[in-house]
Amino acid sequence: MPREFTPKVITANALLEGDVVYLTEDDGWTRTLSEAAILTDEADAELRLLLAQSRASDVVGAYLADVIATDAGPQPTHFREAFRRTGPSNYFHGKQAETR
């Protein structure tokens, strides 16, 4: 039995800044997980990942990350993605410190 496809977002690091970015519905990049497109169809996710990976002048290392869809947008299911969304725990640096 193939495993059931769970909701995903496409995430990567920005080429110039190195910070975490997510793919949006309109194939743009956002710094905010809540603005990321939630992909629920496996074929669509694979295709959009290939397209994201081909955008080598924007991002590095695009991959699919598991999320749960909530009213507040996608939420990470794994602690690694939670840290990537937030920043380090020893200093108030990174995303948590960025004013929007």
């Binding site: 190195g18 080598a56 002048s57 602690f79 690694r80 020893n90 640096h93």
Partner: protein, 565 residues
């Protein structure tokens, strides 16, 4: 200290110019990431969890005040005002922007520093005893040979695409503060019958498959060392495994072939290449050695120091833990703790770096060292200046009196920064330090080295911690495995696993349990944790951690005869 020749300066400048062009081509889209990645890694630039990370080499951990000030300037201008000193005597900047890295490298070049070969499958920054040239117990200063190895290995055409990374450490002291038994090659300068020579250890390493190094050559004359090293790396370069990166380090090569086979191959290769070394390396070593001539130590009274010790208990506590014996009368080696309770191990702010630079310039013959234990050393301070040094350190939060104690923790960056990490290290270190400070047990416990790694790669040296903590991802939850009885000293040993791991919220109580068990069972305060563990073994600690039932089960398993499969 070694100063760059015209050749060194031109080489670094040229590499920086090349890298600037490579970055530009990457940004323009002329280079793919696959093409660019090995180039940036050869210049110390990683892409981590939240940002790029630049790893700057501090060769054999030695730097002067001008270099430390430049590191502070870089931290402020291009990073977030701090730097992280690592277990390989490097400094890492956690937040550089890609396009600015060439400027950072140029700024490093201005003070004779670089980030070359701090990553990639090359010979990495050579590390050395952080008390080199100062320790009372030293046979010889390991830095001249470390510098010669740096020059030999930098851009060595044969060794730019090795099976994997290759790490060399050198100690000149029988106390081995460089963990030479856990390096691809460990060198120990020894004196036998009045002669200085090198004991060559090979195949040590931590990581996924921890191994203690083996003696490859027991006593090698200095003039033969470089060709011998070249023979070792050359043999491994040709027979080291490239089919599986987990089996590519020389420790696996030595393990699979056996030390005798490796020795025979090295001897054969050595015989072939030895004639190519016609003595120029020895001339260069002679010139390098002159650069490392000891400073002119002054002869001054130390009455003021003794009086201050008697009068000021805070100063006395600091002096008791943070000073080490110097080879010159009236002098001390000062270890500046980058482990203030609750702070990030190994981090220093730009302001702290400047204060340390000022102190080195004013009181320390302009020398600083970075220890693999992530502290900063002022190697040569006259005792009459210690009170002033301590007062200045206090003002910037650098006077923590905890060297060698439970809060002097090695911790890798872990999942707060590192893309390879499987769990966080830093918060665990912070919590342990705060907990034992609150309990006021730190000095009661005495000598204790806790080392924490956030993944199996073991940058935090957890295998050789008296207590080692390894952070893992267990079904999507951070989990911490404990080893005890490890030792990174001259008779290095790997620690033993206590049993099942602990959740993040249980790991600090678990460490407390181990410490209380130790305090309970030690014969007297002079019996260290390590000595007590060697005397009583695992069972009392296992019982304390997991209860009697689990300890009994473990004892039974151990007692059952091993049945070969």
């Amino acid at each position: 200290m070694y100063t760059y020749t015209e050749f060194d300066a031109a080489f670094v400048a040229e590499r920086n110019r090349q890298f600037r062009a490579q970055v530009a081509r990457r940004v323009e889209g002329a280079l793919t990431e696959d093409e660019f990645k090995p180039l940036r890694l050869m210049n110390g630039l990683y892409l981590q969890l939240h940002a790029y990370m630049l790893r700057v080499a501090i060769p054999y951990g030695t730097l002067g005040s001008a270099q430390m000030r430049q590191l502070a300037m870089i931290a402020e201008r291009w990073d977030k005002g701090y730097g992280h000193f690592t277990t390989r005597q490097n400094i890492q900047y956690n937040w550089p922007k890609l396009a600015e890295v060439p400027d950072i490298l140029d700024a490093l070049g201005e003070v004779q520093m670089h980030a070359i070969q701090t990553s990639g499958n090359t010979i990495r920054n050579v590390t050395a005893d952080h008390f080199a040239g100062a320790a009372a117990d030293e046979v010889a200063d390991p830095r001249p040979i470390a510098e010669l190895i740096r020059q030999w290995s930098t851009d060595h055409p044969e060794f730019q695409a090795l099976p994997r990374k290759f790490k060399v450490a050198v100690t000149g002291s029988p106390m081995d503060r460089a963990v030479t038994l856990a390096h691809d090659i460990g060198l120990r300068i020894v004196r036998r019958a009045g002669q200085i020579g090198y004991q060559v250890l090979v195949g040590g390493g931590l990581g996924r498959t921890p191994m203690i190094g083996k003696v490859l050559h027991d006593f090698l004359p200095e003039e033969d060392l470089l060709p011998y090293l070249e023979a070792v790396v050359s043999v491994w370069n040709s027979i080291g495994r490239r089919d599986n990166k987990f089996k590519s380090r020389i420790k696996i090569t030595v393990h699979e072939h056996g030390i005798e086979d490796i020795r025979a191959r090295v001897e054969a290769r050595y015989a072939l290449i030895r004639p190519l070394f016609t003595g120029i390396d020895q001339q260069m070593l002679g010139a390098i050695r002159a650069d490392f001539a000891p400073p002119v130590f002054r002869d001054a009274p130390v009455d003021g120091y003794e009086a201050a010790r008697a009068a000021d208990p805070v100063f006395r506590a600091w002096a008791d833990t943070n000073l080490s014996a110097h080879r010159a009368p009236g002098y001390a080696i000062v270890s500046i703790s980058l482990k203030a309770h609750g702070e990030t191990p190994g981090d220093a702010t730009a302001e702290q770096m400047r204060v340390m630079a000022d102190l080195a310039e004013r009181y320390g013959h302009d020398e600083l060292r970075i220890s693999h234990e992530q502290n900063v050393i002022l190697p040569h301070v006259h005792k009459s200046d210690l009170q002033a040094v301590h007062a200045a350190l206090r003002e910037v939060g650098l006077a923590t009196a905890n060297i060698g104690l439970i809060s002097d923790i090695i911790a890798c960056p872990g999942m707060d920064y590192c893309a390879l990490a499987t769990a966080r290290s830093i918060p665990i270190a912070q919590e342990i330090a705060l907990r034992f400070d609150a309990l006021k047990l730190e000095h009661e416990i005495g000598e204790m080295k806790i080392k924490i790694s956030g993944c199996i790669n073991a940058c935090g040296h957890h295998h050789v911690g008296h207590i080692g903590i390894l952070g893992l991802d267990r079904a999507g939850v951070e989990s911490y495995q404990i080893t005890i009885g490890g030792d990174g000293g001259p008779d290095a040993q790997l620690g033993d696993r206590t049993g099942p791991g602990f959740a993040a919220e249980d790991i600090v109580p678990a460490i407390e349990t181990i410490m209380l068990a130790y305090l309970d069972l030690r014969t007297d305060p002079s019996e260290t944790f390590l000595a007590a563990y060697r005397r009583v073994g695992m069972e009392p600690f296992k019982s304390a951690l997991y209860g009697e039932a689990e300890a009994a089960r473990a004892a039974k398993r151990k007692a059952e005869p091993h049945v070969a499969a």
